[in-house]
Symmetry: C2
């Protein structure tokens, strides 16, 4: 998946969101080693310092941990990941729902929109 950075938000925040999504969606397996700061920065077309900032924020959240001169790894704590996943889903749903209500849409209308724009799972 590409990085798709936009100019309307600080890059380091977008990097945080992107990597966080990789982790909580399971795309990055718990305990697995991730690419180096320099390599990640290179792929995202971003300065190493900026990537470093994003990674250390994710560390504060407990989603990553560091082995000083060896590399960085996804946490093995499944609870942390699951919590992040749940709060992500809840927060986004609440925000979405609130905005649509404020627009004047009824609950039924909101559901209809989601029905329309959501694609069925490809089993």
């Amino acid at each position: 998946m590409s990085w798709e950075l936009t100019a309307d938000r600080p890059i380091y925040l977008q990097l945080i969101d992107h990597i966080k999504m990789n982790i909580i969606s399971g795309e990055f397996a718990p305990g697995s080693k991730i690419l180096s700061v320099r390599e990640l920065a290179s792929r995202a077309c971003v300065n190493p310092n900026t990537m470093q900032r994003a990674l250390s924020e994710l560390e504060k959240l407990g989603l990553l941990y560091t082995q000083r001169t060896n590399g960085r790894f996804i946490t093995e704590n499944l609870d942390v990941i699951e919590n992040a996943r749940e709060s992500f889903a809840k927060n986004h749903t609440k925000k979405f729902s609130d905005r649509m209500s404020q627009l004047g849409l009824s609950k039924a209308q909101i559901i209809n929109l989601v029905e329309e724009f959501s694609e069925e799972d490809l089993q």
Copy 2:
């Protein structure tokens, strides 16, 4: 409604979103006069220059127009407002739906979440 500005995005963009929502939700009636730049800035606890920037962007979108030394008004062009409203709803729904799918949620699960977090209309 309060302004609720956060530090993770440029203020002028948040002001644009906020006022745009006031317009497309119908809270600000088409053709009606809005408060002066200075007054709006004061209420939002923001510098007049910043509010000015947001308003001129909304003007580019056709949602506002200016009478040079008289004040600013909501557009009377209902099509412009309705288009903005529809694209707002579609874009947000699409983005929400995509993110939830990426999280691994099925269409049915997404609908369930919306059901859970959406409140019934208060007739």
